[in-house]
């Protein structure tokens, strides 16, 4: 398994010359977790960045892994392409601990990846990023005619829908006939 370490550096911060009043308690070191997608490339991400994902946050909230345990057990997301997971991790890192702005300029620019990104973000339950992605999808049809929208959103025509429905019925009929034949064969 290849491994790339991404995200926030785990190096200790420099000692402040004068301790601020509120810094009486020792700082808790940031914990890191590891995730990988379909390509098995492991990404190191801080717990702070992962808080954006309700799914992962729920998974790690009660784990209490040590750094070593977390490294040994990366979260596998086999349904997400490696480059898409990379985009998501980058976005989570960029927005770690920050309030998310109403308009996000850090959104991944590759429109051809938008569909896979939307599915991944929805699966990982990253609400703000999902909203940004959905805004991009909504913006695609601004000022467009029904014909243009049909192409942009890949909407089948009524004729195509009817043909697909007929085909599905035909297939279902064949499957039902096959099952009946198999059941009759079993009975013999």
């Amino acid at each position: 398994m290849s491994s790339t370490e991404q995200g926030t550096s785990s190096a200790a911060p420099a000692e402040p010359t004068t301790a601020p009043e509120s810094a009486a308690a020792p700082e808790v070191p940031e914990s890191f977790y590891y995730v990988h997608g379909k390509d098995k490339v492991v990404h190191k991400v801080s717990a702070g960045a992962l808080q954006h994902s309700a799914l992962i946050h729920g998974m790690i909230s009660n784990l209490g892994y040590t750094e070593e345990q977390a490294k040994a057990n990366p979260f596998p997301f086999e349904n997400i392409d490696g480059d898409i997971l990379q985009m998501v991790v980058d976005w989570c890192n960029q927005h770690k601990g920050k309030p998310t702005p109403p308009e996000d300029t850090n959104l991944p620019k590759q429109k051809e990846k938008l569909f896979d990104l939307v599915l991944a973000v929805n699966y990982l339950e990253i609400k703000e990023l999902l909203t940004y992605c959905c805004k991009q999808v909504a913006m695609m049809v601004k000022g467009k005619s029904p014909e243009e929208i049909r192409e942009i959103w890949m909407i089948p025509t009524d004729a195509e829908d009817e043909a697909a429905e007929k085909e599905a019925k035909k297939r279902a009929g064949k499957e039902a006939a096959g099952e009946t034949a198999a059941a009759a064969g079993d009975a013999k």
Partner: protein, 320 residues
């Protein structure tokens, strides 16, 4: 780059739909019957409670507009035009239905939008050619219109008297009613209007008699071009003092001729006053009234009257 929207999970699809403007949703609904059904179901499950549908049938153009909130601008979502307009090749920000039957086209347009979003018609704006729209709206929905406006047209007003009579007898709106018709000097109306919050006659108010005024059930009444005389208003004030027009708070008449003279009958007990008060009228406006005449109803409710050659204003103070 295409985006296969119908392959997204339903939660994503709902999020995308919620980010679209009403005109974009209507346009998208024409992509396929399947998408139209999907959008209809979306709005059945998530009724856009703040959206308001405005139907306009004015100058031979049927229009369905949506306002997404009280402060938002009206967005045209679907238009109906006559086939003869097709040559003009104007570009619209929403789909246009061209037909040979303008009324049928307008009905289809508005029905399409009401079915898609599950909305009643909230406001109707018509001219004298679309009296049909009033009855059509009255018959198709249980809830009465919130706002109604009848605008005059400049051309072909030969049947203006008939048209306005029809409107006055049939139009109903709970909040605001604006009625403007190029009627003849002989036009008379013997019915009632209201109840509503605000009645405005923005021009040609010469037909309004004292009896009419006493039969208007509205909180605020504004009439431009009035021919009411001081004796008409004395009769009206007598009716008001005896308990008529109990809901009236604001009456503003602008006279056609600037010759009005205040000569109130003695029995009305109208007295001069230097009182200063603030009236909070509809849509958040404030009007300061200072001085004029004071008149009191038998139940103790007071009103302040200000008048000159051009106007007569009466403000009723229901709360002491």
């Amino acid at each position: 780059m295409p985006f296969p929207i119908l392959r997204t999970p339903s939660v994503v699809l709902s999020e995308i739909i919620s980010l679209l403007q009403p005109n974009e949703i209507v346009t998208a609904s024409f992509c396929s019957k399947n998408l139209e059904r999907l959008l209809q179901n979306h709005f059945r499950q998530r009724k856009p409670l703040k959206w308001r549908l405005h139907m306009i049938d004015y100058k031979s153009c049927g229009q369905a507009h949506i306002k997404t909130s009280e402060d938002a601008k009206q967005i045209p979502v679907l238009l109906a035009k006559h086939m003869s307009e097709l040559k003009r090749q104007l570009s619209w920000k929403c789909p246009v239905l061209y037909s040979n039957d303008q009324i049928l086209g307008t009905k289809m347009t508005v029905e399409y939008v009401t079915d898609l979003f599950g909305l009643d018609i909230h406001e109707l704006l018509t001219d004298r050619n679309s009296a049909w729209a009033i009855q059509w709206v009255n018959n198709r929905q249980k809830n009465s219109l919130y706002n109604f406006a009848f605008n005059k047209t400049r051309k072909c007003n030969s049947d203006a008297d008939e048209a306005l009579d029809f409107v006055l007898r049939n139009a109903r709106a709970s909040n605001y009613c604006s009625i403007e018709g190029s009627v003849s000097d002989n036009f008379k109306f013997d019915g009632k209007l209201g109840p509503m919050r605000k009645l405005t006659i923005p021009s040609n108010g010469h037909w309004v008699t004292g009896d009419n005024l006493s039969n208007f059930d509205a909180i605020e009444i504004t009439i431009q071009g009035s021919r009411l005389s001081v004796s008409d208003l004395n009769v009206f004030l007598r009716h008001w003092r005896a308990g008529g027009l109990t809901r009236l708070e604001w009456l503003h008449l602008n006279f056609e001729e600037h010759t009005f003279r205040e000569r109130f009958d003695e029995d009305l007990e109208v007295v001069k006053t230097d009182e200063r008060r603030v009236y909070h009228c509809s849509y958040g406006y404030k009007k300061v009234v200072h001085g004029g005449y004071s008149v009191q109803r038998v139940d103790g409710v007071k009103a302040l009257i200000q008048c000159d050659l051009r106007r007569f204003v009466m403000v009723v103070w229901h709360q002491q």
